[in-house]
Assembly symmetry: C2
Homo-oligomer: 299 residues x 2
């Protein structure tokens, strides 16, 4: 039996704490003029966010009995990439956001230049974490993780999706276009979270299909839910500004499908995501719960 | 006998061509709305710059008979990091430069958001290049390269040096402070260029000392020469705005030492750099020529 989504709260609290503790230990502030850089990295990386991506990494690693401490290193790496992308995304020249995760954005709490460098530094730190033998003794595994991450986060993945999003104000994307944009912008990194478990667990390529299907459907459902939250949610709960896509005239799943069809589509994708996990036993309960949570988040 | 520095021109031309050809082949522009991102990456990466870092990588790899095509992949990776750092450095919130390598900076030729993403994408591409088996069959070698690069380019290296530089306008750095700043901001990446040859050539740690000494002395001499060019050079030849440090009231080797002592210091460092290579035969001639070139560049 799948766990009900309300049971996700303890798992989210636990991963949040685990990630915060490790960032706190790893990102020590030097006593020289580099201090603002490290403070800015800590401001962005510690305390905040749902830590959905780290939880996905841990849940995926649990399927293959990967030791928890190693899984957490991969989780930290993916969170570094996510956080760096948020810092750069929030810059005045990008989305120009003042609030993120209920706190001032890095360029507001520090300044723009420090924000650029803090993002760049977390970007490197992700690869540093993955390259270390504490992540896995087998260098082939570490190389596989790094290659998968460059594909997910670079121009062929997340950054490419962000470029598509930049021109969205002047581009009439249809449903296929928005789907492609989101598959790159958020889906690629979510895909990496699931792939990471398979890489760490040394799962043969052919057996990774269910996880990839789960990641693809979850990623889209997650984005549709985000679009719905953007229209229906409260800025206070979200910890960031909402309704910016609508104001900018960007096509979203909700603007193209309408609220009801978007909601139906998200639920259908979640059912499909969970079906991909059919041949996994109770060890996939956390992934099932994450999927349900993705479309039932607080408004 | 060491080659005279005038003989460096063919080597510089050859490496420039080799790098341009490979970037041209690797950075193909997709026929969709991601196109501006790839065009911006090409704008920054192809055609321009002295390609000093790629040449150092190749020269260092030549010492240990590393196949040229593999050495060039490492050279491309380090150039990706250098170029990404220039793109972000040139942003209005950082140095606010309009010209770079004789062309409009990326945010001028495109826009700021595209520049941020192009830098981020080249950053990932560096790690992508190093992680591929075309760079080296042994995954331990690839992991070593990646770890050395994260150390050289992240918060403990280049980005940390850039942070020190950001606060330089409000910090009275003495000679030790400026030296430390430059060792991180430009020295760390130059250090990686030399280390890369030793890693690719599987040279034991204990035997890397001469290369590290060469890199340290060359890096400082190179920076002093840059400071001299900044005071004495022509903007046309440099392909970028000059005398910005002076205007901002930042301490430099020249402002702290004066022109004559700075020039003497640079020459002494170059002599010292070349001495480190004493037990290498003619295969180190290229490294010797690069060292001489570093302090004899066109004004």
């Amino acid at each position: 039996m799948a766990a009900p989504s309300k049971s996700l709260r303890p798992a989210l609290d636990a991963i949040g704490k685990a990630i915060d503790q490790r960032f706190d230990r790893l990102l020590t502030v030097p006593e020289d003029t580099r201090a603002p850089l490290f403070k800015a990295m800590r401001h962005a990386a510690i305390g905040g966010g749902k830590r959905m991506r780290p939880l996905l990494v841990v849940a995926s690693c649990d399927l293959f009995d990967v030791p928890r401490e190693r899984a957490l290193r991969v989780a930290l790496a993916i969170e570094c990439i996510h956080v760096y992308s948020l810092i750069h995304d929030d810059l005045p020249c990008m989305d120009d956001d003042d609030m993120r995760r209920g706190k001032p954005t890095v360029h507001k709490a520090f300044d723009e230049a420090t924000a650029v460098l803090a993002g760049d530094s977390l970007h490197d730190f992700a690869y540093d974490l993955l390259s270390h033998e504490d992540t896995h003794l087998d260098p082939f595994v570490r190389i596989d993780l790094i290659r998968a991450l460059t594909a997910a986060s670079g121009a062929m993945g997340m950054a490419g999706g962000q470029m598509m999003d930049l021109v969205a104000e002047h581009t009439a994307y249809d449903l296929g276009g928005v789907t492609r944009l989101q598959q790159l912008k958020t889906g690629a990194l979510i895909g990496f979270c699931l792939e990471a478990g398979a890489i760490m667990g040394d799962v043969p390529e052919a057996e990774r299909t269910p996880l990839r299907g789960y990641a693809r459907d979850l990623g889209l459902a997650f984005q549709i839910a985000d679009d719905l939250l953007d229209v229906e949610g409260s800025e206070e709960k979200a910890g960031k500004a909402l309704r910016k896509d609508e104001d900018a005239g960007k096509a979203t799943f909700v603007s193209l499908l309408g609220i009801e069809r978007a909601r139906t589509q998200a639920r259908m994708l979640i059912d499909q995501a969970i079906e991909h996990l059919a041949h996994f036993d109770h060890r996939a309960d956390l992934l099932r719960a994450i999927a349900r949570f993705a479309v039932e988040r607080d408004r």
